[in-house]
């Protein structure tokens, strides 16, 4: 069982992910922005973090930079889920230390496959 944190400000998308992942055995926690996500991560470092980029208070890039700046959290892979799908925008994600990028809209199969890739079975 792996520990996963999702950061997403859009209520509808959070609900969609929750629904899609209700059948998994992973421990999944949700936050509506980067700041809340960081709190969850610090409290219990997960195996992987999925995060949106555009969020109030702390966006995905700031969250990633914070994690990479902390020795105890720097190893956690981060996957960006973003509507920004242009090449330079995707490159921005990797520049902030992304382990992967999921473009919105995404299929459930894609979401599950990405999760499977990073989650320890």
């Amino acid at each position: 069982m792996s520990k996963v944190v999702f950061c997403e400000d859009d209520l509808m998308i959070r609900k969609l992910i929750q629904t899609a992942l209700r059948a998994t055995t992973h421990q999944v926690r949700y936050a509506e922005n980067g700041a809340a996500g960081l709190a969850l991560i610090v409290a219990d470092p997960p195996d992987v973090v999925f995060t949106d980029v555009s969020m109030p208070e702390m966006d995905g890039f700031q969250l990633a930079d914070t994690l990479k700046g902390r020795a105890d959290l720097a190893h956690i892979p981060i996957v960006f889920m973003t509507a920004s799908v242009q090449r330079d925008q995707i490159e921005d994600c990797f520049r902030h230390g992304a382990a992967g990028h999921i473009g919105k809209p995404f299929t459930m199969a894609e979401l599950r496959a990405r999760l499977a890739l990073f989650a320890k079975s």
Partner: protein, 849 residues
Amino acid sequence: MRKLPRSLRFYVAASTFYAATIFLAVQYIYAFQLADSGILVARRDSGDVLASIQVVSFIVWIGISLIAAAVMHRLANALAGAKSAEEQREQELGSIFGLSASLAGPLELDDIGKRFLEAVRYSVRSDVTVALIVHDDVLEAFRVVGADGPHASDFADQVYSAASLPAPIRTRVIDHRRSLVIPDTTASSEQWAKIAADLPRLAGARSFAALPLTSRDRLVGVLFLRGDQPGALVADRLQGAMTMGQYVAGSIHSALSVSEAEARADREAIVNRVSQRARASLDPDEILRGTVQELAGALGVSRAVVALGESEDDLRVAYQWTETDVPTVQSGTRQIPIARLAVRLGRTIVVSDTREDPRFADPDVRADLIRRDVRASVATPIRIGGYLAGALAFAQVGRPRDWTAEEVRLIESVARELRVAIEAARLYQARQRESERLLALHRASAVLAAQTQPRVIIDEILKNAVELLGSGSASLYRWDPEAGVLRRELNWRVRDEQVSVTLRPGESTAGVAFERMEPVVVNDYPAWEHATEVARAGGLRATIAVPLVRSGSPLGALVVRSYDPDARFTDEDGRLLTLFGDQVVAALTAADAFEQQRRAMEELERLNRAKSDFVSIVSHEFRTPLTGIQGFSEMMRDEPLTVDEMKEYAGDINKDAQRLNRMINEMLDLDKMESGRMRLHREPVELNHLIEEVADRVRPNSPLHPIALKLDPELGSVSADRDRITQVFTNLLSNAVKYSPTGGEIVVTSRLEGDVAHVLVRDRGMGIPGDALESIFERYGRIESRATRYIQGTGLGLPIVRQIMTMHGGQVWAESTVGEGSLFHVTLPLAEVLAVTPGGLGGQRPPNA
């Protein structure tokens, strides 16, 4: 030679002695021989006879001797007389030969006169005064060369013009070249009265003669003889003087010819130098300078001036030379009345004494001449091909002066040479100027072609104009229609304190050129009626301005200035500057076109960027609801779900679809409004009520943002499209919520301001940077930053608000402090209410409106 005594007593005594001696000798020899021969007898009676014979013969002998003595005396006398006449002739001849010998070789006229008079004096009685007058070509009159005798001083330095000589002398002596001899003036009193009237110094003469001196058919002079005794001068006694006169006339002729030739040679030398200088140089200043100095030196005047100009009033001093201590004249010719007179009359004017001359009787002129002590002057006009070019003027300070014909001739000759020089130089300079002008225009055109920066082009044009016109500075004034002034925009070598920054039309040269739309040339700026104090105080002397005209309307003016006191611009300069002005207009036009194009390009680029940003934003924003729609529908398709789950997910899909729809509608709305295809459905709208409704709708979605309303109860209805105004306040309030993510009170205030309803929406959000306060109302103008990136929306809210307000005749604007919040203002005109539906809404109009 021993002189023979001519006394009659001497001859009588001599002949008596001779007769007695001979008689006694004969008696002795006779008596001795008689005695010897015995004839002698002692007879007394024969002795008596003999003695009486001897007495008779003695008496006869004495008589013959006396006759002989008388004859001898007569003979001796005659011989002596003949001898003395010959001697006198010899003497006269000796004088003539001596004179002619002494006249051999070149001699000064004065020397000739002196020797001649000495010789003549010797041949006449000692009381006679002689005077030689010769005809002086230079003076065109007879002048006394010398005089000798008791009354010589009466003749000293006299000059007689041919006309002033008495008629008898004039006709007989001068015209007919015959001598006039008046042995006794009282005897010929009538004739003498005429002569004495014209020659009063001769009135006391008792005897007078005037002898013509001619040489090779030319009358070279006249010999005057004056005697104090009647009969002192008679024709016979004047033969010697006349003969000497013939000898001396030739010498006088030669001497006169030599002096004339010398004078002519001097004159020609000066004229030649002038013409050589004129040929060697093309600088009129240099020619004038050299000529004037040379001529002034040759004439020994106090001042020499060359004035140039095309009319009496246009004359200006081009060059002047003055002796040390003699003040110069001003550059105008007011102080050279004679030059003006010469120009006016078109001929040489000679003034021997300005104080006596009636032509300078004008009190001001005379006072000025007296003040400057100008006593004599001469001026001649310089004409080129029938046109006046100027005048040459000379002045003598401190003393009157008789200008000789020779001097006048010299001045006129030099003026003729100068004319050629001036014209040649003028033509050369005109040509030079023409090519310089073409070159300058060419340079300006080259810059125009190579440059797109109007500043660089116009700087170059101004520089070229200044260099070409040899002036001080240049400026470009452009018309500012809003301020109604000409504004100085570009300058070349301008000192700010000398030149106005703005000018009204009609003010200074630029203003006048702009107003009249024609070139303006001013050469005495301080005296000009449209002059400005700034320029006057700045020392501006001469200036040209040309209007800058494009398609018949003036854009401004181009000004060139000179601070040189002698500067003088011509109409030709004005025409030249007009060409530069045209270049400037071309440059401005090109620059304007270039600038317009650049702006259009920038606008296009900006729009293009905004559009692609918009596409990116829209696609980004659309992806969020699409994610929900795609995800939930995928699950519904692929997963075994309960009916409740199905319904729930279908509801979620529907919400996202609506969200998508809203976004699309916003875009379409704005597009419609911008293209003018949206119609307003106006109706009376209670603004306060509408604001309350919108606030109520927003509140549930923004728990962190208390919305306070401060509404003016006086605010009544406006005529407006209810839905659109609702959209305005919804957008403003939801923006206030969106952009204050940490919460904070939102205040909506409404108030009546005259005939305008003013609504203010204040938040305590992140604020808007000053430079974005306007662009936020433009389509695709949402400020993209990390702080706002997460905010969902198409960025069309405020553009829609502005469009709606504009359609209602109202306004919307924002003010903000970054980090403290923003304040949005909305105004709606109440007048619009009455204008649109006057009948239905008249009563609802606020009383204080």
